[in-house]
């Protein structure tokens, strides 16, 4: 799709002059106005636009916050209060940023689940998908470091717990884990030094993220968008130009999402956070329950599922290491989905068995999220262990096997046929804006 013929014709001499030197207007016209998008995209496809908007919003609010924030162990907590109380509309900027992190993850998880349901990871979109996993990793790192910055109790103890995970490497090579942890901390414990470096990285990573998002969009425009049928674009009537069709739909999706976002910012700014983070960090007092932000809970549940024994298998000193490996693998394994899924059919619409397992996967993730918020004891641990197995089972067993045994449903020949029914090829009169120009 990336190489479709350009229809850009500069109308002024200056435009022609500039186009010959830097064809930026041509790229915009080709890639964001005329660009052929499948005509059958549903609202789940508006999340790419929503995510781009949130990324820009997080950077804008973040830059303003950084103007007022003091990254030091003695000043951080108070400076956030100053922002909330004394900076003009500081409370609003702050809440947009902190709620924005949650909204970012909410949108990205919906975006990823959509990818799973409609098989958006399959050829020729593997690189696009891997870039997406990389974006999620960068988001997680950025959000984790950002959560440190208010320097409340949960910030401090969250960092302590998570950075300490690397000490599990001591069981492989004595001293390796400890060395890494001290290197991360910049000392022998979490301190103002740690806060300073996390602030620096929290400012840097979003720009790296933006770069990878650029690649993600580039890769998308090479492979073209997937669509609810999972079929390739075959004929001109399968698609409509991005503008005004996809853009008008994106606009609705974006504003509807902003409605939810604004509801939390203005009426529930604390709801997604944790009360303990309004207590200034105190290395001498450990909060009774150390819980990460909600968007890390499924991974946190997997981490904690590895206690001294895992479903009867004794783990001994390797329990922590297994938990850490499981937690990181849970993210990394997503990148292998294009090769783990053996089915050639993309959309679950035509995959009677996989469709059910998709919901099995959703329930697994939500359950892990719930268990991550509960104390690691009794039935919760056993449940977390079972769902951890389910999570990896989905990738390592279900994805490969279902693809081999499943008989797909009868599929339409093209998107046009899926939309209009058999024999209904071509666009109705009046749809003159459709890209016959291709």
């Amino acid at each position: 799709m990336g190489a479709h013929t350009s229809t850009y014709v500069p109308t002024t001499r200056w435009g022609k002059w500039f186009d010959e030197r830097l064809p930026i207007a041509r790229v915009v016209k080709n890639q964001f106005i005329d660009y052929p998008t499948p005509r059958n995209l549903n609202y789940l496809w508006t999340f790419g636009g929503i995510l781009t908007l949130i990324l820009v919003g997080q950077i804008v609010t973040g830059v303003i916050l950084a103007m007022h924030y003091q990254p030091s162990a003695t000043g951080a907590f108070d400076s956030i209060e100053k922002i909330r109380r004394d900076v003009n509309y500081g409370w609003m900027i702050r809440d947009f940023h902190s709620v924005g992190a949650s909204m970012f993850f909410l949108a990205v998880y919906i975006h990823i689940f959509r990818g799973f349901y409609y098989g958006s990871y399959k050829a020729p979109r593997e690189v696009l998908w891997i870039l997406g996993v990389l974006i999620m990793l960068l988001m997680m790192a950025t959000a984790f470091m950002g959560y440190t910055l208010p320097w409340g109790q949960m910030s401090f103890w969250g960092v302590t717990v998570i950075t300490n995970l690397f000490s599990a490497l001591d069981t492989i090579y004595n001293g390796l884990g400890t060395a890494i942890v001290e290197w991360l901390w910049g000392g022998y414990s979490v301190s103002g030094v740690t806060l300073n470096r996390f602030f620096s990285l929290h400012y840097l990573l979003p720009f790296v993220l933006t770069g990878v998002v650029g690649l993600h969009i580039w890769a998308l425009h090479i492979a073209g968008q997937n669509n609810p049928t999972g079929l390739d674009l075959k004929e001109p009537s399968d698609c409509v130009p991005m503008h005004p069709y996809a853009t008008s739909k994106d606009a609705v999706g974006i504003f509807a999402f902003l409605l939810l976002y604004a509801w939390f910012v203005f009426f529930l700014p604390d709801y997604l956070g944790h009360a303990d983070n309004y207590i200034e960090a105190n290395p001498l007092v450990t909060p009774p329950h150390i819980v990460p932000e909600w968007y890390f809970l499924p991974f946190y549940a997997m981490l904690r599922a590895f206690t001294s024994s895992f479903l009867g298998i004794p783990l001994g000193q390797y329990a922590k290491l297994c938990g850490v490996v499981a937690m990181f693998s849970a993210v990394i394994i997503i990148a292998f989905a294009p090769w783990l899924d053996t089915s050639r059919i993309r959309s679950s619409k035509y995959r009677p068995i996989f469709k059910w397992f998709f919901w099995f996967f959703v329930i697994t993730c939500v359950s892990l999220g719930y268990l991550g918020s509960k104390p690691a004891e009794g039935i919760y641990v056993t449940a977390a262990q079972i769902f951890t197995v389910c999570y990896f089972l989905f990738f390592l067993v279900i994805m490969p096997i279902v693809g081999l045994i499943e008989t797909p449903r009868a599929m339409p020949r093209s998107i046009t046929e899926a939309v209009l029914g058999k024999g209904g090829a071509g666009l109705p009169t009046g749809a003159t804006a459709a890209p016959e120009v291709r």
Binding site: R85, V240, K249, L259, W263, F266, A275, D276, Y370, A431
Partner: protein, 286 residues
């Protein structure tokens, strides 16, 4: 259309459960009931008179041990708070027992002076160590954020949990901190016969571990209200918690007022964009 039914059903169920399920919470933990705060929910705003009474309770009782370091005296004048007259707050600051350490002066000495409008509302102790020394080892926490720094832990069954959450999100309820502090202030009683109370501690049914170093701070008639509000522990607790909620979130009134304008704008814009999208797509089956 077929797909919309379950979603609607889900929301209807959520509403029903949100209303009925509070009573279904697990026993074991003392239930902390939700109070009818004027400032809770998506329409809630502070009650000016209540904030003024609440400050009076803070000043006459809490301030004997607790500071409000994130609050300046000027905040008591600003819109959205108790909105005392500026002259009255100036006089109050001048007579505030806990002085500001300032300096060094031109002799190089630090000195004490009464606070100005721009100074924080300090408690009686210069630092935590002094506080612990005076309070038998206990540290009276700063109260400026306490209403946001506490919450009510609810342990509903897993299947009720999502409905409770949806109910709170739909209502815009995040006043767990206020509910907890109210329950704490009114939760003092004699220890049960089988409970071993450490010397110098007090029994409180909602405080974690049930032993708190703070003596019961409120008693009927302890603060003389000027506006005829009955002088009961219950009223004192409600009023001072409302004041502390404002202290922790002084922009609440503005936040919710702007919020409604933003929500209204977004609803109208989303609707218009949807109509525009329908029109654009009218000739294209999809």
């Amino acid at each position: 259309m077929k797909k919309r039914v379950p979603v609607t059903l889900l929301f209807a169920l959520a509403a029903v459960f949100a209303i009925t399920s509070v009573s279904a919470e697990e026993a074991g933990h003392p239930t902390i009931e939700r109070q009818p705060w004027s400032f809770s929910g998506f329409t809630g705003q502070f009650d000016r008179a209540q904030l003024q009474r609440g400050f009076q309770v803070y000043k006459e009782i809490c301030s004997n041990c607790h500071a409000l370091k994130h609050l300046d005296f000027r905040n008591l004048v600003q819109p959205g708070g108790p909105e005392f007259p500026e002259a009255a707050v100036k006089a109050l600051a001048k007579s505030w027992p806990n002085q500001i350490t300032d300096g060094p002066n031109d002799q190089g000495k630090m000195f004490e002076r009464p606070p100005l409008l721009s100074d924080p509302i300090l408690g009686p102790y210069k630092n935590d160590q002094e506080a612990r020394a005076a309070q038998n080892g206990a540290l009276p926490p700063d109260l400026s954020l306490v209403a946001r720094a506490r919450d009510v832990e609810r342990n509903p069954s897993w299947w009720i949990h999502p409905f409770l959450m949806l109910g709170d999100i739909a209502n815009g309820y995040q006043e767990g901190g206020a509910d907890y502090i109210y329950a704490l202030l009114t939760g003092f009683s004699d220890a049960p016969a089988d409970f071993k109370l450490v010397e110098g501690k007090f029994y409180n049914k909602v405080f974690p571990g049930h032993q708190i170093s703070m003596p019961p701070p409120l008693s009927d008639g302890a603060v003389a209200y000027q506006d005829g509000t009955p002088q009961t522990v219950d009223n004192y607790a409600h009023d001072v918690v409302a004041f502390l909620s404002w202290a922790a979130d002084p922009s609440l009134d503005t936040r919710k007022q702007i919020g409604w304008q933003v929500i209204l704008y977004l609803i109208v814009t989303t609707a218009l964009l949807y109509l525009g999208k329908k029109r654009i797509w009218a000739s294209i089956k999809h």
